[in-house]
Symmetry: C3
Subunit: 273 residues, 3 copies
C-alpha cells in the first residue's frame, strides 16, 4: 500500500507461521496444530515484523489470519511462554508485553484490512488477535475465551480492555474480561463480536479477502484507518478528518473510474489508486 | 430555543426541500421523489443554513426529517454531485466535504431533538443524515446502505466513521462502512441503528415529535446535548458537566412545575424554561 | 485492597443502609422498603463515605448492592429530595449534584468489583447506581427507568449520559435518557444493559460475589480499573497501559501460583497478591 522502499530487505522466510500470498491476499496460518496453535515468543516476533513490512512489500492488499487444525490460536503457550515468564526480570517482561501490544497496535494501524478466519478456539492472546482484526468470520465450532484472569493475569492484555468495550459495550466486555468465560460462535455473532458463522469457513474467508483485494483498495484502506483513528477523536476533529480524507479520495483514480464506468454502463475496474 | 436575535433575517422560503412548521414541530421533507430524494449541492446548503437558524427562530422545538415518495434520501445525486465533483479543484472539493460535514455537526450540536422518519431507502449521505438524528423511526420498507466504497470513496463521510461505531460497535460499523452492504429495517433495529419499525410511520413520527415539542424542552435539549458532548469527555469531566447541568436544571421553571403538579395531584404543564 | 491506613477511623455503624460483611463480600442493602428504597441525602452521603473507605478497610474484596423488599432503588425521594431541592440556593444544589456524581465516580474508580443485584425497580438515580456497577444481575421483575425528564430534569445525571451510550450504544441511550421509558429485565439483557436474569437472584449474586472474592483479586481489580480508564484513553495509551500493568501482574504471587499449581496438577490457591 506504500510505494516507498528503504534499505531493509524483505523477509524471505517466516519460520514461525506459514505465509501464503495469492494475488494481493496474504494469509498467515498459525501452524502448531498439536498445541492448538499456542503462541511462542517467536510467533509474536514474526507477527510484529510481518505487520511492519507488509504495507510496503507491494504484494498484499489484505491480510487473513487463520489456524491449522482444530484451533485458531490458544494464546500464550503454558510451557514456552507462561513458564518462561516466571523467570524474567521486570524489564524483559515489559519488553514482552510491549511486543505483544505492538502486534495489536500494528494490526489496527495497518492500511490493510485484516480478516480473522476463526476456525476453532481463540483463547487468551489468540482471542485478542481476532479482536484486533477488522472482520471476524467464524467456523461453527469457533469459540472465544479471554481467559487471562484464569492464569492470574489482568483481562486487560494487548489492548483487549480498549477494544472489547468498543465492540460489545462496557457491560458485556466487563463480564468477558473479568470472568474469562467462554463465548460460543453463536453468542459472538449476537454480541457483535463477529460478523457471521460460515459453514465453509475457508471459502467464506477467501470470498471476503478476494473482494477486499480486488476492490477500491484506497477507499477500503482509508475507511479502516479512519475507523481506527476516530475512536480517539472528538466529533469536530473526526468530521474535519473525514472532510479532508474524502476530498483527497475525490481526486483518486478509483472515484474517476466509478463515474466513467457508470457513464458507460459497465462495472468499474478498480486500481486502488 | 435561544431568545437572542441578531441582524440577520430568517429565511422566508426554502427552495430545495419542503419545510413545514406545526406548533413547535419543524418538518423537512426531501422533495425530489423521482430521484429517491438524491441530494444536490443546493439541498446541502439549505440544510446547513436551516440548521444554523432553527435554534433561534423561536418557532421550533423539534426537527423531523423525512422524504417524499418511495425513498428517504438516496445520497449525492450521481449526475448533479458525483459528476460535478470530477471537475472541481481540490479547494472546492474540500469546501463541499466541509459543508456536508457541517450539516452533521450542526445536527449533533443542535439543541433541538431531531427525528429521522425513514420512509424508504437511506443511502450514502442519506444514511449519514439519518445516523446524525437523535431518533430513527423506520417504515417497514426502510433500509440503510453506507455505499461510499461502491463509488470509490471512503466509508468515512460526514462523520459516519465516528458515529456508527458509537451506535452499533466497531465490528459491525467496519462491516457496514467498508463493504457498503444493505441493512434491512429489521436488522437496523436489532443492531441498535434504529428505534423501531412503525407500520404507520407518519403517525409514529408525529406522535414522537409532538411528545418532544410539548414536553420539558430544556430537559430534553440538555440531555441531547450532553449525550453529544460526553462522547468526547472523560469520566471525571462528564460527571462534573452533569453536576453543573443538573444544578442549573434544578433552578428551571419545569422542575418547580413538576413538584407543584405532583403536590397538587395534576399533570405538569411544561413551559420548557 | 490497599494496606495503607491513615489516622481516620473506619465507620462503625452505617445508619442509612444495611452493610453486611461476609468473608470478603460487602453487601449494601437499601433499606427503606416502604418507599421502594428511595434515596435521601443521607443515603447518598453514606454511599460516598463507604466507597471512600471500603478499599482500605481490608475486609472487602467485592461489593454487592441490592434492595430490601419489592424495589431495588426508586431514585431520589420525591418529598425528601425533590421537595427539598426546590428551596436550595445554587451552590447547595451543586454540592448535592456533585455528591451524587462522586458516588458514581467512586464506584467506577473503586478497585473492588461491584455487583448490582437488581431485585425490582431501578429508577432515576437508582438506575444510574446499577449502571455504575460492573455486573448487573436481575430478578425477573427487575426493570430500569431513567425517568429524569419526567420530573423536568436532564436525563444526564450522575454520569448516565457518559455510561449508558458506552453500554448500549448512542441510539438506544438517547431513547432511554431523553424519553425515560421503562426497560423490562428481558430487554435490559438483550440490550447489554444487564448480564442475565436469575430466577433466584440472591443465590446468583452470592455465587458471583463469592467467585470474585475468592479469585485472583489483583487480576480482577486491575481488569476492572483498566476497563474504566481505557474508555478515556486512545489506542496507543491504552496498549502502553496494558503492557505496564501486565508486566507488573507477571510479578504477582497469583501468576506464580497459577504456574506452580498447573505444574503440580492442582487448582491454584489465589492470594490476591
Amino acid at each position: 500500500m506504500s510505494p516507498y522502499r528503504g534499505s531493509a530487505a524483505f523477509t524471505d522466510e517466516w519460520k514461525h507461521f506459514d505465509l501464503a500470498l495469492d494475488d494481493g491476499v496474504a494469509t498467515v496460518t498459525f501452524s502448531r496444530p498439536d498445541k492448538l496453535n499456542a503462541l511462542t515468543f517467536d510467533v509474536y516476533a514474526d507477527l510484529r515484523d510481518l505487520l511492519a513490512e507488509l504495507p510496503h512489500r507491494g504484494d498484499a492488499r489484505v491480510l487473513v489470519l487463520t489456524g491449522e487444525g482444530r484451533g485458531f490460536c490458544s494464546g500464550g503457550d503454558v510451557d514456552e511462554i507462561i513458564g518462561e515468564l516466571q523467570k524474567l526480570p521486570a524489564g524483559e517482561l515489559l519488553a514482552f508485553t510491549r511486543m505483544s501490544g505492538t502486534v495489536v497496535k500494528s494490526m489496527r494501524d495497518s492500511p490493510l484490512p485484516i480478516v480473522a478466519a476463526v476456525n476453532g478456539v481463540a483463547a487468551g492472546a489468540g482471542a485478542v488477535l481476532a479482536l484486533a482484526a477488522d472482520f471476524r468470520l467464524l467456523a461453527p465450532e469457533a469459540k472465544f475465551s479471554f481467559l487471562f484472569t484464569r492464569v492470574g493475569l489482568a483481562g486487560a492484555d494487548m489492548g483487549a480492555a480498549y477494544l472489547l468495550p468498543r465492540l460489545v459495550g462496557l457491560g458485556r466486555a466487563t463480564e468477558l474480561l473479568v470472568l474469562g468465560d467462554e463465548v460460543s460462535a453463536e453468542r459472538a455473532v449476537n454480541l457483535g463480536l463477529a460478523s457471521r458463522i460460515a459453514e465453509d469457513l475457508p471459502a467464506a474467508a477467501e470470498e471476503l479477502a478476494r473482494k477486499l483485494a480486488d476492490g477500491p483498495a484506497l477507499a477500503y484502506s482509508t475507511t479502516k484507518l479512519l475507523l481506527t483513528r476516530e475512536l480517539d477523536l472528538d466529533l469536530g476533529g473526526a468530521i474535519e478528518m473525514e472532510a479532508l480524507a474524502q476530498a483527497l479520495l475525490m481526486k483518486s483514480d478509483d472515484f474517476g473510474e466509478f463515474y466513467a464506468a457508470w457513464s458507460e454502463g459497465r462495472s468499474p475496474a478498480w486500481s486502488g489508486r
